[in-house]
């Protein structure tokens, strides 16, 4: 039977918030709350009134890995940051720059890369490739110090034919495109090693492109298929 007396409702709401309403009675009350806006309001009354109690607890910063776990669980596509560099706000400040990029060579698709300068020996780059629906398609993560480029395919990567691959190109300030990698698909992650020249060119030109090529990559060493994504790095 649902509570139908205002005093009884108040008593139950109070004990719900204070915590002494327990077990089946608590579960039952939660079901009633779903049906009764009056009951919900009574609970909110107590939550508001007793909030000063909550403010009396000393604040304690939680360990950083709590946030990392929250992020990982909610956004499995998020790029993992090294422990020493982690900071949720600065990371999202960087990612926010996705939105500043303008349309690129192909009207439909965009690539936005973010360059996050830190200490020289720890210079890192974070890139997010988005499709027309603004869904992240690939994550590109580089470490200048380690000369590494990590490419992570996300679920939004469009399928290509069995006889095709996406190929990533570095577009130098002058000269021909330099093939960097065949882009992974199907949730895979690929880590490649960059040469000194490639790192230097990447920083200098800040331009990348992805073309659709025959399986295994361009047979000529130069793009042969349509360029489906293109961008410039954005410097923070």
């Amino acid at each position: 039977m649902k509570p139908d007396h205002i005093e009884r409702n108040h008593a139950l709401a109070a004990e719900y918030v204070v915590g002494t309403l327990q077990g089946k009675a608590r579960l039952r009350f939660e079901r009633w709350m779903m049906d009764s806006s009056k009951l919900r309001r009574q609970v909110w009354f107590w939550e508001r009134r007793l909030q000063p109690f909550n403010e009396s607890f000393a604040a304690v910063p939680p360990p950083k890995d709590v946030w990392q776990t929250v992020e990982k669980r909610l956004f499995p596509d998020a790029v993992e940051q090294p422990e020493t560099m982690w900071d949720p706000v600065s990371m999202w400040d960087k990612v926010r720059l996705w939105r500043w990029t303008t349309a690129m060579a192909t009207a439909a698709l965009m690539v936005m890369l973010v360059w996050a300068p830190t200490a020289p020996e720890q210079t890192a780059y974070l890139g997010v490739v988005q499709n027309q629906q603004a869904e992240p398609v690939w994550l590109v993560n580089t470490s200048a110090r380690e000369h590494q480029l990590t490419l992570k395919a996300l679920p939004a990567v469009s399928n290509v034919g069995l006889d095709q691959d996406y190929e990533l190109w570095l577009l130098p300030s002058s000269g021909a495109p330099v093939s960097l990698a065949i882009m992974p698909t199907g949730g895979a992650e690929l880590r490649i090693q960059l040469s000194n020249d490639q790192v230097r060119e990447l920083i200098e030109s800040r331009s990348l492109a992805i073309s659709l090529e025959p399986k295994g990559g361009s047979p000529t060493g130069q793009p042969t298929g349509p360029v489906v994504y293109q961008t410039r790095l954005i410097e923070l």
Binding site: A11, A14, Q51, V70, R73
Partner: protein, 181 residues
């Protein structure tokens, strides 16, 4: 540094729209307070961290349900965390000794409730608490700050279960009449 409620409302509104940056801001602005509460209630770091995770996952999924009747965003977030702490307590029945707890609160020293009541914006709560007799007040206090059940309260105070339930109910009733005026 505490972030204003207005700012938290903005973070919450953006979080409801899927803005991860706002969610990160919200976490950074509120998690220390929530974690402090969970540590106090649970007395266990690992459990407190688990609750914190679950609470913020809930915040992300339900940010759109926040509205002003829920109090400030902090009130809303703390309530989410509090109920999860209570669930965790139920699951494992904490092991702090009742004698210790009773001693902590029976001597009218500056307990969490008294500290809370002395804070700005809580004069009304403070005044109402002052009007309650010690039995009522300490029962509510132990329930709120320790997450005690009626049975645990009865054990802690050495009173029969029926008496304990009546005390809590009567104390809360008096408190509401005072607060609700």
């Amino acid at each position: 540094m505490p972030v204003s409620s207005d700012k938290l409302v903005v973070f919450l509104a953006k979080t409801a729209q899927g803005d991860r940056k706002a969610f990160a801001d919200l976490y950074q602005s509120t998690s220390s307070v929530l974690y402090g509460m969970c540590l106090n209630l649970l007395r266990n770091r690992e459990e407190a961290q688990d609750v914190l995770q679950e609470a913020y996952i809930q915040v992300w999924h339900h940010a759109g349900e926040y509205h002003v009747d829920r109090g400030t965003p902090m009130t809303w977030i703390m309530s989410i965390g509090r109920y999860r702490c209570l669930d965790a307590l139920r699951r494992r029945r904490h092991d702090s000794t009742y004698d210790e707890v009773e001693h902590d609160y029976a001597d009218d020293s500056m307990g969490p409730m008294t500290e809370a009541a002395s804070m700005k914006d809580s004069q009304r709560l403070s005044a109402c608490l002052q009007e309650l007799n010690t039995e009522y007040r300490s029962s509510i206090e132990m329930a709120y700050f320790r997450g005690f059940s009626h049975q645990e309260l009865a054990t802690a105070t050495g009173q029969p279960l029926g008496t304990t339930k009546s005390r809590v109910r009567r104390g809360l009733d008096l408190l509401r009449r005072c607060l609700g005026s």
